[in-house]
């Protein structure tokens, strides 16, 4: 008779739970009660927490929702204008460089790029900007830093930044930017921009070598695995490329002319780092408690990180020291009609908090979004919105649901491409050794480019959400014109009745025959032409149809395609060694400039020839292309640059170094109570412009999530009803005499024997 007691308790617990849930308006909210009524923006992150929040190390898309809200680089992009326009963030203005020749004589802005030995950027940093509260700035009553001389035991009970009771702040100065630029040379943490940036900033490369030596001295006597390292104080080690002329003027010297440098100043590599951060986090015991800039950033941006629960939840709260930035009053022509200018002049940020919760699986992510618990599914990514867009066009029911819930899915074509590349080092599809071989291999690449029908791919695998690429340059960037080579690839397309259409497959077969492979067989040996296609993911059921599709495309011209699907690490290994033949890859621009796409084909960037450091994955080397690229990179946007871009695209099309693939459509996803959502993959500090109507959200969430309790009671009733006859049977049995009971129960026991 003991069993029913815990059962009774369980029933009571269930009843209490049911009652609790019934009392609140919604039972399925993943947040604390009433959260939907707060001025908070709720979103999710997928897979895992961001790896790097240190501005020197951070270079991944999933880190940007944090880093770009917390840190303030000198520049940013205008939130609404397209093509993207640079605007000052922490700087007073976007500075124009001054040019000097090798003798130090100033040159006019129109001077040819080759004559310019140095460019000098003098950038004024705004006055009055203050860092978000942080213990690194805290001072004791005597005015000394409160937490700069801690011992290991002082840190023993500290695991989070709010475990330190005191906070402080100070004004941002140009010295913080100088410190950050010097810090790019650090050998202590990952600094992915250093190899590239040190090619441009005067003296940074040599400075890096000096810093390595300084670090070696500091590490003397320590094991390589030691994590408590003495502070590497960059204030003590200067170099000429970056200096503070006064408290609010930063000077950066660049080798030669590099117009794209201004875009780098909009990235968090050039966000300020206060020396106090390094001093604070270098103290003994901090590293092993994960107390570092990587986990607890210090910035001057609109938000600060207040919660970091790895792989679970992160919370940004409004930085109380943020000065407030006005919402823009101008944008694209359609912005006014879409209501994106209604908040003109109002102070940003609009929301008080931003909550990022982990969602590893797509079903809960989508469910919570449609229940209204996420204002946007994954705020930094535009592929989730694109999936919803596809779903909406696929099914009328979904379309009705999306409309009923007022989900907004604004879309755009972003600076992002996917392509099939040919490895130019490969003897079959590559460059070739003799002029004759070169011509034949080129025809082979052209034939294959023609055979891959990207329009079909977009229809099948992207559900029509994309645009077949004609060249490496996506629309929306300077150099892309509707009547230029970027918009028409004459190798693959032809114009018929004023319309552009893909050339017939017969032309591909003809090219293949000219390449020495009639009907897909080697003309000399008669052997079938078998090519290898390296794919960056394992062959899952989701990937298999794509691979079958590629095989079908190549089979159209009689070429056999061998799929070599692998994991991303192995794939990268092969790419670094240049041992692949044909591959599929994509590029998401770092900044909105043609140079950031064309450098993917620039010879000196060849991946296999730079030990994996370059981004020219096809190892393409064409002297004519490279010469134009070197001229183009000096040019400001204008007719000369446009001409050079046209010529480079035409060369790449003729060489068919890539089958140019497609530019995917990108869509953001927002609920009706989120305002000012504009899709972008270039602007990363967009959360400060998002406004939420918590009242409308609470009303809709309550409306969409009214709990249904009656089925539960019905199930309970059905269970009870099923038990009733059994209970009756039990009572009847109890009433029977012992002899009959024994007779009845002995039979099965005997049978078991």
């Amino acid at each position: 008779m003991r069993a029913p007691v815990p059962n009774g308790r369980f029933a009571a617990a269930v009843a209490v739970l049911a009652l609790t849930a019934a009392c609140s308006e919604v039972g399925n909210s993943p947040y604390a009660s009433g959260a939907e009524r707060s001025n908070t923006f709720f979103t999710a992150f997928q897979e895992r927490s961001p790896k790097y929040l240190d501005p020197t190390s951070s270079y991944s898309n999933d880190e940007t929702p944090y880093t770009y809200q917390i840190y303030e680089p000198l520049y940013g992009y205008h939130f609404l204008k397209r093509p993207y326009a640079l605007v000052p963030r922490a700087a007073e203005a976007v500075a124009l460089p001054r040019y000097y020749d090798a003798d130090g004589k100033e040159l006019p802005a129109s001077a040819p790029g080759g004559t310019i030995a140095h460019s000098v950027y003098d950038i004024r940093v705004r006055k009055g900007i203050r860092f978000a509260p942080h213990p690194a700035f805290a001072r004791d009553s005597a005015g000394n830093p409160a937490y700069h001389s801690m011992r290991r035991e002082d840190v023993a009970d500290k695991y989070r930044i709010d475990d330190f009771r005191q906070n402080g702040t100070r004004e941002l100065t140009a010295h913080d930017y100088v410190y950050a630029i010097r810090r790019l040379a650090t050998p202590r943490i990952k600094s992915p921009s250093f190899s590239l940036i040190s090619e441009y900033i005067v003296g940074l490369k040599e400075y890096g070598e000096r810093i390595v030596e300084v670090d070696r001295q500091l590490r003397k006597g320590l094991s390589p695995t030691d994590r408590d390292l003495p502070m590497l104080d960059f204030r003590q080690h200067a170099f000429a490329g970056a200096e503070a002329l006064d408290e609010h003027t930063l000077r950066i010297r660049i080798k030669g002319k590099y117009p794209q440098f201004k875009y780098w100043l909009a990235m968090t590599f050039f966000a300020p780092v206060p020396w106090e951060a390094d001093k604070f986090y270098a103290q003994p015991g901090m590293a092993e408690k994960n107390l570092s800039l990587n986990y607890w950033p210090i910035g001057t941006g609109p938000f600060m990180l207040v919660e970091y629960e790895e792989n679970r939840q992160h919370v940004l709260a409004r930085n109380p020291n943020f000065r407030g930035e006005p919402y823009p009053c101008e944008g694209e022509a359609r912005d006014r009609a879409e209501g994106l200018l209604e908040d003109c002049g109002k102070n940003t940020p609009f929301v008080e908090r931003v909550v990022f919760s982990v969602e590893k699986e797509t079903i809960p992510l989508k469910t919570k979004f449609f229940q209204g618990y996420y204002d946007s599914p994954v705020v930094e990514r535009l592929d989730v919105g694109t999936e919803y867009l596809v779903e909406m066009t696929d099914s009328k029911d979904k379309l009705a649901e999306y409309r009923r819930k007022g989900v907004r899915l604004p879309s755009t074509i972003e600076a992002n491409n996917w392509y099939v590349g040919f490895n130019m080092l490969d003897p079959v599809v590559g460059w070739g050794k003799t002029p004759d071989e070169r011509a034949r291999n080129r025809k082979l690449r052209q034939a294959l480019s023609l055979a891959i029908d990207w329009e079909e791919y977009i229809q099948i695998f992207e559900q029509g959400q994309g645009m077949a690429a004609q060249g490496p340059l996506p629309p929306g960037l300077f150099g892309y014109r509707d009547d230029g080579p970027a918009a028409f690839n004459p190798i693959v397309y032809r114009t018929l009745d004023g319309r552009s259409e893909r050339r017939p497959i017969e032309e591909a077969k003809k090219l293949l025959a000219e390449a020495g492979y009639p009907e897909g067989r080697d003309a000399k040996s008669g052997q079938p032409l078998v090519l290898n296609f390296d794919y960056q993911r394992a062959l899952t059921p989701a990937i298999r149809p794509r691979m079958a599709w590629y095989q079908k495309q190549f089979a159209k011209v009689g070429v056999q395609l061998e799929i070599r699907a692998t994991d991303y690490n192995r794939f990268q290994d092969k790419m670094n060694k240049g041992t692949i033949q044909i591959y599929f890859w994509g590029w998401l621009a770092d900044y909105p400039d043609a140079e950031n796409f064309l450098f993917l084909l620039y010879g000196p960037n060849a991946k296999a020839l730079t030990n994996g450091n370059g981004e020219n994955n096809s190892n393409y080397q064409n002297a004519e292309f490279d010469r134009r690229f070197e001229l183009m990179k000096f040019e400001d946007d204008g007719p000369v640059k446009a001409r050079l871009i046209d010529e480079m695209i035409a060369i790449a099309q003729h060489d068919a170094v890539w089958s140019f693939g497609y530019f995917p459509t990108s869509a953001a996803a927002f609920h009706q109570w989120v305002y000012n959502g504009k899709p972008t993959q270039i602007i990363r500090n967009h959360i400060q412009y998002l406004r939420v109507d918590p009242q409308l959200r609470a009303q809709k969430v309550a409306e969409w999530n009214r709990p249904l309790w009656w089925p539960v009671w019905l199930i309970a009733l059905a269970l009870a009803a099923a038990l009733l006859p059994a209970l009756r049977a039990y009572r009847r049995r109890e009433r029977e005499n012992a002899a009959r009971t024994l007779a009845g129960s002995a039979a099965p026991a005997g049978a078991a024997d």
């Binding site: 008779m1 069993a3 059962n7 369980f10 609790t20 849930a21 919604v26 039972g27 399925n28 993943p30 604390a32 895992r48 790896k51 951070s58 270079y59 991944s60 695991y159 990952k190 992915p192 390589p224 695995t225 590293a287 092993e288 408690k289 994960n290 990587n294 629960e309 790895e310 792989n311 679970r312 919760s357 969602e359 699986e361 079903i363 809960p364 469910t367 919570k368 229940q371 690490n569 990268q572 030990n611 994996g612 450091n613 981004e615 709990p707 249904l708 309790w709 099923a722 006859p725 059994a726 049977a729 039990y730 109890e734 009971t741 024994l742 129960s745 099965p748 026991a749 078991a752 024997d753």
Partner: protein, 325 residues
């Protein structure tokens, strides 16, 4: 008994060394330290220098099992295996490959894991024993027949199915509980209700059939017949005699898993977004974080060994005829 426990503990150490070696070999057969470095550093432009530096800082630049450059014992001790394994026996888990303190993470995550695992286990055992007893109590009636049928159906269904259907039914359709997530305080109940119920239901079919067989076996024995012969009610027979005697095999299957509850559930925690040790392990496997994987495998093996020893001890408690020697 003390000597028995000591002997088992010594065997346990040997088993742990074996498990450690096995995990190590398995892990490094499919991953090289270079792979781990690349995945851990992540992002664009990962240079070979960065990879080398990452390995040096974490001691992955050393040979795996044998260091030919060193002599004597150093040849064995100056290796990744030795340096990474010996500290585990002192329960010093060190830092994960991404730099986080594993001991702290385990302490943080053990609570959420137990919050799901303990009620699932306790309610599961209770519900299963009740269901099995009910079937035995009503044996040879329609309730027994349909109970067995239902149990067979339930054990044939994958636990993933229960999770997906449960989430869809109770969160999306009926909107009673959150589909996933975790919070402390009173909110804990609403987050745990569904995973606990699903955890109980998912195992109910299999365990109820098993326990039913055990109870039936017991209820056919002579002492049960004697109990009935002396006129005891069916309730008294079942709860006072059958249950107590059938408790021994139940103990085998329950006490052994008791310590493993600390490790949480890989699937449950992953699907319900519970920040416990199960999801920690899954994350580490996905991130190729060997430091965490080896710590969790070590902890799992150690707890399993503890579970087996506890089972042996519990025998002596449940059945005075058993003596450990």
């Amino acid at each position: 008994m003390l000597s028995y426990i000591l002997r088992r503990a010594l065997y346990g150490v040997l088993i742990l060394i074996g498990v450690n070696l096995f995990t190590f070999v398995l892990f490094f057969t499919v991953n090289t330290p270079d792979d781990m470095a690349r995945l851990n550093i992540g992002g664009k432009r990962v240079t070979q220098e960065a990879i080398e530096k990452w390995k040096v800082e974490r001691g992955y630049d050393k040979p795996l099992l044998y260091n030919a450059r060193d002599d004597g014992l150093r040849a064995l001790s100056n290796t990744i295996f030795f340096e990474r394994s010996v500290q585990l026996f002192a329960l010093r888990f060190g830092a994960s490959d991404s730099g986080r303190d594993i001991g702290y993470e385990i302490r943080q995550r053990i609570g959420p894991s137990l919050a799901v695992a303990l009620p699932t286990f306790a309610l599961g055992v209770m519900a299963t024993v009740c269901a099995a007893l009910l079937m035995v109590f009503f044996r040879a009636t329609y309730l027994d027949f349909w109970g067995v049928t239902l149990a067979v159906v339930m054990m044939s269904i994958s636990s993933l199915f229960y999770i997906i259907v449960g989430q869809w039914t109770f969160s999306t359709l009926l909107r009673l509980v959150p589909i996933s997530g975790f919070a402390g305080g009173w909110d804990l109940f609403k987050f745990l209700a569904l995973p606990v119920v699903i955890g109980v239901v998912a195992r109910l079919g299999y365990d109820a059939l098993l326990y039913r067989t055990m109870f039936l076996e017991e209820s056919g024995k002579d002492y049960v017949r004697t109990a009935r012969a002396k006129g005891l009610s069916e309730q008294a027979v079942l709860f006072r005699h059958v249950l107590r005697n059938a408790a021994l095999p139940i103990l085998t299957s329950t006490v052994a898993v008791l310590p493993l509850l600390f490790l949480g559930s890989l699937i449950m925690e992953s699907f319900f977004g519970i920040p416990g040790l199960g999801s920690y392990t899954i994350d580490a496997i996905n991130a190729q974080d060997f430091a965490v994987v080896r710590a969790m495998v070590f902890l799992g093996s150690a707890l399993y060994i503890v579970g087996l020893v506890l089972t042996d001890i519990s025998y002596t408690v449940a059945d005075p005829r058993i003596r450990l020697a």
